[in-house]
Symmetry: C2
Subunit: 292 residues, 2 copies
DNA sequence: ATGGTCGATAAGCACTGCTGATGGAGTGGG
DNA sequence: CCCACTCCATCAGCAGTGCTTATCGACCAT
């Protein structure tokens, strides 16, 4: 029998689940349909439970559960391979920095070397994975947190993480908004506000909810993408408020940025990198760290 | 060639690294020494770097790095298998609850059903693993945290985690200690104190360091074990102070428990369980949750 | 020298895991 | 109603894998 929980089997399983088809998965993976069928059968026998319904092909309850595991699992596997391989490989010249759009503050931009850096803007959740698998040499993640509290990141691999900046948080309002004149806003003032939920371009409402213990924030509009400009334009046009770090919120035409005063939250930026203490990546990492 | 990053290969690798011997590892795994040699060779070729020095057998830099990955990786694999298999398996009667010694407060003890529960006291770090792999149905982990902050647990698998209690933290002092008369203690008062570091029987000093941003606490004695009684006895005998949740610290003969007033930290207890919402485990979980 | 231990390597072989072919079940069209 | 088509399961066959046994070279202690 095929041996239990082989990564190969898991990969074909996720492919089958994703494509909802044995034959399609076989084509994608370069196997025969027969082989895929045998892979799934092996997995099901090994785990003692059917994972997929056939006709239509869809995950069973057990299969759903397995799918929740496979993602992190395969990711960690790739991360491990990449991490070890990185030690052996010749140090690349040219550095890739994965970042969220709002993490790129003036401090970071100032510290970048004059040439040889590739910036890659990614959704928040993909950055640890990118650093772990070596897709990027360094990562910048930001988010809402209580002052001096670290961010809560999914750990895909043993990564080093260090806070490099904390900035005030601002609420971005359209110029004519009734609250636009205030010197500061408490979250209670915004109980009835409508928000633009742009988790990968601004600060995610989900983090606001988590940090404050879960008031309901009504999202008028959801924006999926990484372009801050678009989101501020949406706010200016009255589609809803946006939460941004202060540097990113100031000076946007047609809007007013008002500091969020309560609860006490900060926009925190953290630097992620793999283990090595040598090489261009570590150099840049040191330059990004606050002086100490 | 043996295919890359097979769990089999990883397992033999960790065995070899742990035993520092190919032949020993072969014996333990039920292979031939030859097979083990081939496994390691396959891994090294796949990763493109030597992982072990021979004679003496010890991990290289790359090997050390790999070892950091293998633990969580293999754990997650077992967790996934166990989690999926659990759905299929007939629900066991008899419930296992993995817990730290200090997490067993009166609230928990009161909620336990009259019979059919196995308690298993484990080191803090092993509890998530035990729950994930199904060694235990439920887990109780405790630690120091800022009020209403969740604990920072290593995520081995998608586990549900809920806070079930927060209690004050006390410093346990021997009866004659100069500070024993105080109504409350600030951490600054204890700058020069000697501690008993008993990470698995009391509250770990490491967490105190992490929560306060890293003053140095001098450990006079380190205790590795899970018996609270022994640790309180050590403190009574003057070997150093101990940090305990208040319920566990009160009424210990020969000692005085003084609340820690600053920084504002609490002893937080969290309940861990796997996914299912049915079965005896979920019932107990519901009874342990605070009324809401 | 020499016996003993350790890991690397070669040769051989059983069996795994693939392919290709066939079968049964469901589906849509004429 | 039947036929053609698609999909997955199953079977047989075969190449290649990964194991074992056997041997070798290196190192160590006696």
């Amino acid at each position: 029998m095929l041996c239990g929980m082989d990564p190969h089997l898991l990969r074909t399983y996720v492919a089958v689940a994703r494509l909802a088809s044995f034959s399609e998965a076989a084509r994608e993976l370069g196997y025969t349909q027969s082989a895929v069928s045998q892979h799934i059968a092996a997995l099901e026998q090994d785990l003692g439970a059917p994972l997929l319904t056939r006709r239509p092909v869809a995950p069973t309850a057990a299969g759903e559960r397995l799918l929740e595991h496979t993602g992190p699992l395969l990711l960690r596997l790739d991360a491990a391979r990449a991490d070890v391989a990185r030690i052996a490989a010749a140090p690349r010249y040219g550095l890739t920095l994965a970042t969220t759009p709002t993490a790129l503050g003036p401090a970071v931009l100032g510290a970048l070397p004059p040439a040889g850096v590739t910036l890659r803007v990614l959704p928040r959740t993909e950055i640890p994975a990118a650093v772990a698998t070596g897709t990027a040499d360094l990562g910048l993640v930001d988010g809402l947190a209580a002052p001096s509290d670290p961010l809560r990141l999914t750990d895909v691999a043993p990564l080093t993480t260090r806070g490099i900046a904390e900035e005030p948080v601002s609420v971005l309002l359209p110029a004519g908004h009734p609250l636009a004149g205030r010197p500061g806003l408490r979250l209670g003032d915004l109980r009835d506000a409508r928000w633009v939920d742009a988790p990968d371009a601004a600060l995610p409402l989900a983090q606001l909810r988590a940090a404050t213990g879960g008031g309901a924030f009504r999202a008028a509009l959801r924006y999926e993408g990484t372009d801050v400009r678009t989101v501020t334009a949406l706010t200016a046009a009255g589609h809803g408020l946006t939460l941004l770090p202060r540097p990113a919120a100031t000076g946007v035409p047609g809007t007013v940025a008002v500091p969020l005063t309560a609860p006490r939250l900060v926009h925190r930026t953290e630097l992620l990198h793999g283990g090595g203490t040598g090489g261009a990546a570590a150099d840049l990492a040191r330059r990004l760290l606050p002086a100490d």
